[in-house]
Amino acid sequence: MLKVENASRTFNNGLAGFKDLSFAIQEGETVGILGTSGCGKSTLLRVLSGLDAGFEGDIVLASLGERPIGMIFQEPRLMPWLTVKENILFGVKDKKSVDVQEYLNLVGLSEFGNHFPKDLSGGMAQRTAIARALIGEPSVLLLDEPFSALDAFTKMQLQDLLLEIQEIRSTTMIIVTHDIDEALYLCDRILILGGQPGRLEGKLSIEEAKPRDRGDSNLAAKKAKILDVLHIE
């Protein structure tokens, strides 16, 4: 579905960004990307989403539907002049065909549809952004640390929400995260980046069936492995 070959995107004379990345992602797969701060994870998502065309190498996206790519940014990026409801509907072409209230409920903002972003907490704003991405029903969803601004409890709820959506729509997802447990809970495969510019430092498959038990001992073993890879760097 998505194939990246020897892709590089560097800044500062090759001292930042990412370099020589190659990987492939199957349809319906959830892939996590872990890595230290500044190793080019956000840059990679920008390249994949088409926002940044200044890369080298090959990126092939196959057989995409009408709504190819959705993205949840590291920040909420809401339009301050639109209410929560209008923000969620921002990219929707036919506004009557969708049920906003359903998405408001989904992210726990049923009472806040008519509030402006200035009246939201950071976590609520991020949840609005999540609803905005989900309502487009994209076939590929790119997520840049989507839950890092949320409390542990909401985070878990939304992780389960992603799992549900993934199961219903078999969305292909690429999740950038700093949270190893989150990656282990959600992903079929984890890519570990490191260095500046970032390169692929390790790969890891997780075959366990979802939903997984957060305290699973196999996952704990994998976590140790990941920590190992991150520490070598």
Binding site: S49, I69, F73, E75, R77, W81, L82, F116
Partner: protein
Amino acid sequence: MSVKTDVNEIFEVKEKKAIKVNSEWKKVKGFALGLIIPAVLLIIWEVAVRFSLLDAYVFPAPTTIVQKIIELANEGTLWGHVGVTFYRVAVGFLAGMVAAVVIGSVVGYFKWFEQLMDPLIQAFRSIPSLAWVPLFILWMGIGEASKVMLIAVGVFFPIYLNIVSGIQGVDRKLIEVGKIHHFTALQTVRRIIFPASLPSFLVGLRSGVGLGWMFVVASELMGASQGLGYLLVVGQNTYSPELIIASIILFALLGKATDFLLKTLEARALKWQDNLQNQF
């Protein structure tokens, strides 16, 4: 038991009322405080004129000025003067605004057009607008055209500058959200750039209107047969300071009214803004 709750309820209600009255009282008090000095000065002024401490031919008493305004209103000429001045400002303002919106939008949106046009516009901006007066009179005569033109030129620059900086200041991150949703250029302008630069545009409108009033005075001083500026000239020539001060007061009232209108518009259009004014 039930008696006890009753007492509690009464107590609560009483407290709430007290707080509300208190805040309203504070508002009134703040407003009244601002009126004290002007009122005292007016009384001193009036008394000084009455007791001939001030020469009434130089400093007409406040009551004389008010009488003058009422007299003009009764004669029926007042509305003509006010109407003409207002009309000039309105037409000049609209013309200047339309030009500023069109040119400012293109300059703000297209980098190459900015490089093409901005040096020229900046050069024109450094000319004090009143310096145009003789040229406009030569070109267009002393009639309405030159007056409206002068006002339009004065109104143009603040609006233009605010539109350009508003458009250029739109957060790239918001534009990227549009790109993710495959917005066309037109959609990006209409749904992101326009609302995001609206606050800056409204600031431009307000300072534009202020300048519009300033330039209407200049344009009417340079020759007019009607208008508040014309009354200033008449007051000077017939040695009637009360007429001059009456016109000044009318200018102040009109200017304040248009500014208030725009301010209300601004508050309505920008209630989403996260600033000090929207906090309560």
